[in-house]
Symmetry: C2
Subunit: 596 residues, 2 copies
């Protein structure tokens, strides 16, 4: 079926079900970033393959909402005569709907694919227009998608204490104490990475993140119900989980929620993350839903010493792989035969040769020239550009290692860069350094630091349309909460052990993209004499040179130059001994002190 | 009655009404910062005279919650054997209550004195403890307070077009269009400054702000019901208001809300500002309460050209008054006879001599030495300290002028300051300059800029426990929303014409306080070549020297020194011609370029 045929068929199906519209988010039942093939309904329907988006199909009109990363990609993939293109924050779906829904309209949604809070926003928007939001028992897209894949069945395996640093039974006790303190009888874990963290297990149900797609119920007595297809039980899993964890089939979740309802239990649920279906089922059964944040989110984010040792170790190997790639790139580009896809493949191969590597932590972004300005670009044969002299090349990549997760972006000039490119790159670097060197009192949120990374760009009337930093898991999600460093306020304070990215950028549409991304970990800072606040700062984990050819020293203050030189010295001294002679020679040159 | 007797009497009254506790906020029916004498129930009950606070009286225990400004003052004023002292953000009342309420408890509150959202938070906290929140028909404190004053009856007078720049009829049309767009039939204005702005009137019902304490109903047809005691009608007011504004007695508000309910109207209400009583009355009458922000808040905050001309003009006069004071202070302090109260009186007198001056915009804070560390200090005969050599003197003051509102803090060294004081002062100055010189894209909120002002203090392990900037009205509240520059996230973007304070500080308890506060106005910045964002920045309105003796030039970057020298040149050139020869000579010296 073509996109036109699919949309027509969906409209016919909606008419049959008495609906005047339907919402198709890029989402699965766990609201995860990477979803299994059966949940890629948005891609099936519209052709849009980005990692986030929402389509709204009404009887006469339709729109697709994407964020700043995908404003270019959506135009290439989705027919303009079928879908209006909308920027999800500048023109939110609720605003768009308020202008188009009419009294009496019935807008359908799949309650498994929207969060509790998401549904509330939709219901409020519908109410203002006099329209009704209708939860669908069966997803109308699934009714049309004849070859929709089944749920994934990758084995779930133990994740060893040598990597987690803490026994699952101990974590279960901590969560139980939290439930006790909050006065709830149980809590529903809907985020697979929370399940994985709590039980010290990993899976393989989606790409790029070792997630077991599974729900769990944590009880106040410290026991856990894990809802998991028994075909997914990996070797040794039952023994590893022990007596405190009961395994039940995925279909048993609903009845388990019903039992909590019958017991008039108070059940914790994160309304920003949990599917509305779960909340509706609990409420219908008689349970009291107590809103709160996922109790695993905060302890998962604060890595312990064993996890941090793993993070430092995998960043050394990751840095060595990236340096081999960058040295190879420097040798190859003069020949002019390299393209984005070839380069990405080579980088992935360098990384794959490292110990404990499992898979890329996301699809490598390999953007030459104008493709570098597409924030979450993914090269295809149709878009594949040569990496040749006169361009900037942006490469954003990362690895899942058994001891940790990496995510790094470097931008390199192929041939001499222009003065404008050096100006922009240096401003991005100044922002990167301002964040890397920030010291701040305990209690400070990422939102309070975000401006440090943007100010050098703001000063000349520039900015970037993405966050400055996201949390990163420990052999888990490369994007993980609850902390983040973004313009939008966040009430979560940065705490020691939290790993975040530091990734300001600048993107000139149609010309070039710049991003400098390293991972950092929040660390206590020894307070100077007279300090009155408990001070925190960042330790940069990522070890790879920042292209000196793109740095304009005249724009840097003395302390910024000192930071760059010290960072480069550390990269050289740490990575040099790990790489071949050719890479080491390249590294020596790439990490030389700036001439000012 | 002593505080002990009052608390005992209140407990007896609560028992009589079947309540196990009662909340006594510093609040009136309009949730204003300055309240009329009859609303000072917190002061009557506890003795605490700060501008913000809340007491909770339970059967056996009681607590008083204040913010960082008042942690010292509360200890001086409130008996420790009656009330626990609590920091309102570090230990919020809802947390405290959750730990102390028992199932079956009935906690009373006056629904006129709490906002809709405030009551919701209390109800949720109560529910977790199994306790009930009970709205009281009559405030139990009023039942005990035999000599409680009546409501104020200051005349309400027109505020002329020469100051407002915009006719009230025009403003009413704008608000009506906003109601139309939001799909509501009417909105309740509960904030007296919104009423004053909308109708171009001023009153005198509270100190320091020319407010008419009155409610208003704005209808979609552009007409307004103003609920006002006819004894408050000033000369020419009826003609000034015109046909579109109906005047009714204050008691007519309830029945008017009932009529909206009978008509099944959709009525806008700001749940963060409106008394719960209003929402409860509307809902009970059958109206649909539509939550939204006060529609006047944003247009009121964005001053027009006439208001900005007034702001600049009153800041010249205010600067002249402050310079006369600072020059006088420099002459007087060597004699050693000056104290805080005397100095404040002299400053108030200098200001009162200026054209269009009406009253101080808040009680002058005149803090010598350790008293400067009390953020909202108010000198009393018991605390009055001499202003003599070897101390820092902090003076925070402002005026209500018919053409605008001012608020300025300067800290001066009396005699030579210590190296530590110079270090701290210079860090505060660096933060002040970082904010004053910020350029940022349209859409940026104050929260995104707050860190700029704190970073120089953070770097050495220091901070200040108050916001960096608050909005300021135009011959209205010296604290006005909706914008603010604070740690806590705010979703309100800074827009051209908004006036804010820029006031970082540092406070060493028991030793000294430092604050440098100027008002700034958000202005468009002409974008540099290549700019892609609409840029905004700040114009500093306040004109008064920053004490050079407290500046350590070695801590300043070249561009910071250039900023200070340029600011001082502007102060000298603008204020010099307005002052007497003695002050001008002092000003010449006080605004000299830094020697580095």
């Amino acid at each position: 079926m073509t996109t036109h045929e699919k949309v027509a068929a969906l409209r016919a199906e909606l008419a049959r079900q008495g609906l005047t519209g339907f919402l198709v988010p890029q989402a699965d039942e766990h609201q995860g970033e990477y979803v299994p093939p059966r949940a890629r309904r948005l891609a099936w329907l519209t052709g849009f393959t980005g990692s986030a988006g929402l389509a709204v199909v009404l009887a006469e009109t339709a729109a697709i909402f994407v964020d700043g990363r995908y404003t270019l990609q959506v135009r290439d993939q989705v027919p303009a005569d079928l879908f209006e293109y909308q920027h999800v924050t500048q023109s939110p779906p609720t605003d768009w709907l308020r202008g188009r829904l009419k009294p009496g309209d019935r807008l359908g949604y799949d309650p498994w694919l929207h969060t509790v809070e998401g549904v509330e926003r939709l219901v409020a928007a519908g109410r203002k227009a006099g329209a009704e939001l209708v939860p669908c028992k069966q997803n109308p897209v699934d009714a049309l998608w004849s070859d929709q894949p089944g749920p994934p069945l990758a084995p779930v395996v133990p994740h060893e204490l040598a990597y987690t640093g803490r026994a699952a039974a101990d974590k279960r006790r901590e969560i139980a104490a939290l439930l006790e303190r909050e006065g709830v009888d149980a809590t529903v874990l809907t985020a697979p990475d929370s399940v994985a963290w709590l039980l010290n297990v990993r899976g393989g149900d989606v790409e790029h993140t070792p997630l077991p797609l599974a729900f769990a119920l944590c009880h106040r007595d410290g026991t856990v119900d894990l809802f998991l297809d028994t075909r997914k039980l990996g070797p040794g899993l039952r023994e590893h989980l022990g007596d405190g964890v009961r395994i039940a089939a995925p279909e048993a979740l609903g009845p388990a929620l019903d039992r909590l309802g019958a017991a008039r239990a108070a059940v914790g649920l994160d309304p920003a993350m949990a599917a509305a279906w779960i909340s509706e089922r609990l409420t219908a059964a008689g349970a009291t839903v107590v809103r709160g944040t996922d109790p695993c989110a905060l302890p998962k984010a604060q890595k312990n010493e064993v996890e941090l040792a793993g993070a430092r170790a995998c960043h050394r190997r990751d840095g060595a792989a990236l340096c081999r790639f960058l040295a190879w790139l420097a040798r190859e580009t003069p020949a002019g035969r390299l393209t984005e896809i070839g380069a990405a493949a080579r980088l992935d191969a360098f990384r794959a040769a490292e110990a404990l590597f499992r898979e890329p932590s996301f699809p490598t972004i390999s953007g030459a020239g104008p493709n570098g300005a597409i924030v979450h670009y993914r090269a295809t044969p149709a878009t594949d550009r040569p990496i040749g002299p006169g361009i900037l090349y942006l490469v954003d990549s990362g690895g899942q290692y058994q001891d940790g997760t990496t995510d790094v972006t470097r931008t390199v000039a192929i041939g001499p860069p222009t003065a404008e490119q050096r100006d922009r790159f240096t401003r991005v670097l100044k922002g990167h350094i301002a964040l890397a060197t920030a010291r701040f009192p305990a209690g400070t949120t990422g939102a309070q630091l975000d401006g440090f990374a943007r100010r050098p760009l703001w000063e000349t009337g520039l900015d970037y349309d993405h966050g400055t930093g996201h949390g990163v898991g420990s052999y888990l999600g490369v994007h993980e909460g609850p902390q983040r460093i973004t313009k939008a306020g966040s009430s979560v304070a940065l705490k020691p052990g939290m790993i975040c990215s530091n990734e300001p950028g600048y993107y000139k549409t149609g010309a070039y993209g710049i991003r400098i991304e390293s991972l950092v970990v929040v660390t206590p800072v020894s307070a100077p004499a007279g300090a009155e606040q408990e001070l925190l700062g960042f330790e940069t984990l990522t070890l790879a040179p920042i292209d000196r050819a793109l740095v304009e020293p005249a724009l840097l203050a003395a302390d910024e130059i000192a930071w760059l030189d010290a960072y480069h010295r550390r990269v050289r001294e740490t990575i040099g001994p790990l790489v071949d002679a050719g890479t080491a020679a390249w590294l020596e040159e790439a990490t030389r002190a700036l001439e000012t």
